[in-house]
Amino acid sequence: MKSRLLTTLTTHLMTPVVGDAAALFALIDQNRDELARWMPRTASIQSVEDEAAFLLHTLDRIAANQFWLAVIWVGATPVGTIDLHNFKDGHAEVGYWLGHDFQGRGIMPHALGIVEDVAFNQLALNKLELVIATENTRSQAVAQRRGFHQDAVLRDHLLTASGNYDDAIVYSKLQWEAR
């Protein structure tokens, strides 16, 4: 798959629709083990209907201004999602995942750059945070590439699917640091 992906395909972000459920479920199912390590909700997505229910819930929360989510597309293929959650006091947390075949191509740093623009310029946030497991070096590379600053290390902060806890690095980027 990776070798056949044309580098000229454009990456874009689109608002989610329930009709994305089948493609996103297929992608989650293909990448289940890797995603579940960092994203416990993966275990609750066992069918297209589960993903459709998640997207419906997502749309409700977006309408209530509690959440923001975009599907990341490369050409005509959905390859992952990126979201903003835990809105409070002028800041929010970013979450993201990408199918394995699409990692390491600069897609997520590009998507994160777009989300920074949305957050700071459209949603008028003062700060974005990223909370990443200390062992998730790939995700940390995205934060570092986008110039996020390491603020803190929180011990045992993330509950894993196996019922253990991961230490987490908290990164931040301030509105005035974005370009």
Binding site: K127, E129, D151, A152, V153, L154, D156, Y165, V170, L174
Partner: protein, 177 residues
């Protein structure tokens, strides 16, 4: 109700606590507002009563744990656990001027650790404090919370803008009565 000492109790919030809590806030407004921006919008007993009613609905929805701190038979402050996620929560607190500096909040925090780790099954408790809020930080440090870093521009100010927050954490296995 939790009795910490002869004259210190933690009690569930009641709307009838509003006048005494408002009096504490009004008497210490300039100090408290530095760390608690909601102090600026708490202008009348009715504002405090509305806040208590909001707290009660959040408590009923299991989104919040909160107690009014009673000292010598009067409401004198609050302590709470909020932002429950992944078996952790953040603790917040304030105490009236006349009762600060006597170790009361340190005792209250110890009791809230029992409630958080034992009763609510938390694994971690976070505590955020303004770097300049030495009284609050002293409580955290006296209770053995470990400094985890500084969250930049994290705390909103009443007059606009943000202050950094020192973030501390304590794990259930670090807790001893």
């Amino acid at each position: 109700m939790h009795t910490l000492a002869d004259n210190i109790q933690l009690k569930a919030p009641q709307l009838t606590d509003a006048p005494a809590l408002f009096a504490c806030i009004a008497a210490d407004r300039d100090y408290l507002v530095q760390w608690l921006p909601w102090v600026a919008t708490t202008r009348a007993v009715a504002d405090e009563a509305a806040f208590l009613r909001y707290c009660q609905t959040r408590i009923a929805a299991h989104q919040l744990w909160l107690a009014v701190i009673w000292v010598a038979g009067q409401p004198a402050g609050m302590i709470d656990l909020h932002e429950f996620q992944d078996d952790h929560a953040a603790v917040g607190y304030w105490l009236s001027r006349e009762h600060r500096g006597q170790g009361i909040m340190t005792r209250c925090l110890a009791t809230v650790e029992v409630i958080g780790f034992h009763d609510l099954g938390l694994h971690e408790i976070d505590l955020l404090a303004d770097p300049a809020n030495h009284a609050s930080r002293a409580v955290a440090e006296r209770r053995g919370f470990q400094r985890a870093g500084v969250l930049r521009e994290h705390l909103p100010l009443a007059q606009g803008g943000y202050h950094d927050a020192v973030i501390y954490s304590k794990l259930s296995q670090e807790f001893t009565d």
